[in-house]
């Protein structure tokens, strides 16, 4: 027997849940509203020609984790206006890493590269073929193909009559899954993969050893692409354009993928 006037326990619980959900939703919406306001403010600064203020606004949003392709594109434009082509290229690359079909970022990246005379890593022929799909698309394809293959194999194990067509289909699915995994590995470790970094410093020289006095391998204009292979202290060993390799100070380059 419950006392009259007391709230049932299940009602109490659902009340807490609703309150918690509402709070979270409210916080998310508030954060989103603040982010939109900050973004609009940074855009306004840009429109008024206050590029440094615009950069500060965009960078604050980046630090807050409000990442999206348009934010990086706009930040790239702001850096372009201050003639910091290295960071402009870096942010266009980031916009394209989030949305590889971003036509504005593609066009502006090309303009910035030509301005900076930046060097580009040449993807291998294999990478060029595999770039028709992104790593995420390959991951989805791999997962779907893998599970279809596994379901097919399990069905075969328990079937009274083994169907050749089902067997072939299962093997085909597993093969597709394997190929997708291989494509993920190739893309992720390739020239446009996770190791991709952009030279942001000026007068950067890739060197034969981790010393400023070491012989120079290649002069890297700002905005040049490199692929980080390993890091040692303040230096990183990177694959360079023209199939070269050398050491670069970490402060002179930033990784595209945050």
């Amino acid at each position: 027997m419950h006392c009259s006037g007391s709230v049932p326990r299940f009602a109490q619980r659902s009340g807490y849940r609703v309150a918690l959900s509402s709070t979270i939703l409210g916080l998310v919406m508030a954060a989103s509203a603040f982010a939109q306001a900050d973004f609009a403010k940074a855009n306004e600064e840009f429109a008024q020609g206050h590029f440094k203020e615009a950069i500060a606004g965009y960078e604050a949003l980046v630090r807050a984790g409000q990442w999206n392709a348009n934010l990086f594109y706009d930040l790239g434009n702001a850096y372009f206006r201050t003639r910091d082509f290295g960071r402009a290229i870096l942010n266009y690359e980031r916009a394209l890493a989030l949305d590889n079909h971003h036509p504005e970022a593609t066009a502006n990246l090309q303009i910035a590269r030509d301005e900076a005379r930046a060097l580009e890593l040449q993807p291998t022929k294999l990478e060029r073929y595999l770039q028709f799909a992104s790593v995420n698309q390959c991951a989805i394809a791999a997962a779907v193909a893998f599970w279809l293959g596994i379901f097919g194999i399990v069905a075969l194990i328990f079937a009274r009559r083994r169907s050749a067509a089902l067997l072939l289909l299962s093997i085909l699915c597993l093969l597709v899954g394997g190929l997708a995994v291989w494509a993920i590995h190739t893309l992720d470790t390739g020239s446009e993969g996770r190791g991709l970094a952009i030279v942001t410093g000026n007068d950067v020289q890739a060197r034969l050893a981790t010393a400023d006095t070491a012989n120079s391998v290649l002069a890297l204009p700002p905005g040049s692409e490199i692929k980080i292979l390993s890091t040692r202290g303040d230096w990183m060993y990177a694959a360079l354009p023209n199939d070269l390799r050398g050491w670069i100070q970490t402060k002179n380059a930033e990784q595209v993928r945050l």
Binding site: A40, F46, G65, Q66, N68, P103, V135, A139, A143, I184
Partner: protein, 620 residues
Amino acid sequence: MLQRILTATFVMLACVQFAFADSPSVTAVLSNSEATVGETVELQIKVTGPGDARPPEEISIDGLEIRSTGTSRQFEIHNFSTSSSVTYNYTILPLRAGRFAIPPQTVHAGGKILRTPELALNVADAPGQRPQTTTRPGRSTQNQSTNPGDLVFAELIVPKKTAYVGEIVPVQIRMGFDARVHPRLTEPPDITGQGFTAQKLQQSSQNLETINGRPFEVVTFKTAIAAARAGKFEIGPLKATAQVVVPRRRNAPRSRSPFDLFDLDDPFSDPFFSNPFAGFGERRDIQISSDPVALEVKPLPPNAPPSFSGAIGSFTMATDAKPKSVQVGDPITVTTTISGRGNFDRVNAPLLEDDRGWHKYPPSSKFKQDDEVGISGTKTFEMVVSPNENKQSLPVLAFSYFDPAKEQYVTLHSEAMAITVQGGGPAPAVAAQAPSSAPAAAARGRPAVSSSTNPQDILYQLTEPSRAVASFEPLYTRRAFWVAQSLPLAALFVFAGWKIRRRRLDDREARRIGALQHEAAELMHKLRRDEASPQEYYAEASRVVRLKAALASRNRAVDPNAVDAETAAETFKLDTDSCDRLRRLFEQNDEWQYSGTHNGPGKISPENRRDVLELIENLK
């Protein structure tokens, strides 16, 4: 069959290789660029590639007597890659001293007209004294019939007595073995000495020569040395170890060898060689050495030109550029080919004399050698340059080297190649891309803050952020991706569980049916034996009917104990007569089971038994 397939595959591959073979190429090389009057020099013209080649019919140069000495063909297969070449050999006999230039020779090959590079030959007036070993076989005053030293000789041939620091000097090593000692080199020849570097020895030829009336197998090696510092050096001596077969010493007086026609005290006068079965030869290790050769190394003269990188020899330079019509900022590939004879390891890419207004990238290089030791060849450099402004011509390239024959630095300049550069501002090519992107943005409904009127400017700012916050992390590294995999995993477990349960049920049913069938068969066997009492007989007969009815309705999983006459009749869809007979069977069974007696006789007549059996057997 397999062999035929393999042969056909091989032939097909060879045909494909020939079909896609490179276009023919020609090289020419002298065995020595320094000679004396009367000393022959070998000229080889090598045509590589498909098609028939037609060499120059006659090479006539005043002061040189050039004669063709034959042709050799080579066909090579490496990893399914085939190549063929024809080498035309000529002997050059200098008739007078001087510096001769063998002009480019025209060779027709594969429907193309090819030209050999120009070659230089310096002929000295005084006959050269070849420094060579003292171990040449000769007449010995001592009675050393089996002295291995008489059976071998070694020569170190250095064509120059003076050289410059870093200059490549070709060196030839000749090692001769009496043809009858079955020689085997256990340690390859090694040139000892300090102050110079030697390249890897390459065996050049092996032939039979008659020296002092005795046949010798002469092996020739080629290498090249380069002095590291100035001064007087001794090259060599050359040292090697070989194993030879020599006759055992015998006490008997020996007869003269047919080879010893000129009383040369030939060790092969030993009876072992006239009658090998009279005794056995023995293998003996022998040390082979030559005399050292003196070489004076001079330092390079001072005031080297800025584009001098240490190249010493004789070189020519050719330059080409593609494309010749570009936009400002577009790349132009400048290909420079440096051919000739010298230390190619020190041949660096030529320098741009005036690189103002040009952006240049590091050059790449590849070297193709024309001889065994890499003294002659062609080094090709590819350098990418891009104009930063309007230009009418490519900058002049300069390459300097030291010519030891002229004893002076030589600087080669490329011709000023005319090019067309369009567009004065930076990156007009990119501007052309911008408008193509703009409609795409408009189609996506992206409002523009500012639109630039400058066609070379970047595109507008986007005012709306993308809807969702994105991540740079690849999907497969995110937790959500792996959590999502639990759904198909759970579905897989459910699917597998369902399948397992179904199989178990099927198995249980199969076992039940098997047991029923077995029991029915046992009972039928008993009924046919005619041994049972009426009570047992009717009980077993009615049990068989129940079992058969249960089996006939297997999908319904009917319990045999629950089957009565009506159920069985319905299951087997019996006619009225059979129905009555079945009912009677069940009634008689009940009577026997519950009363223990029967109204009829105490024994079942054969007719009744047959009738029951017939009824049961017809239940299908």
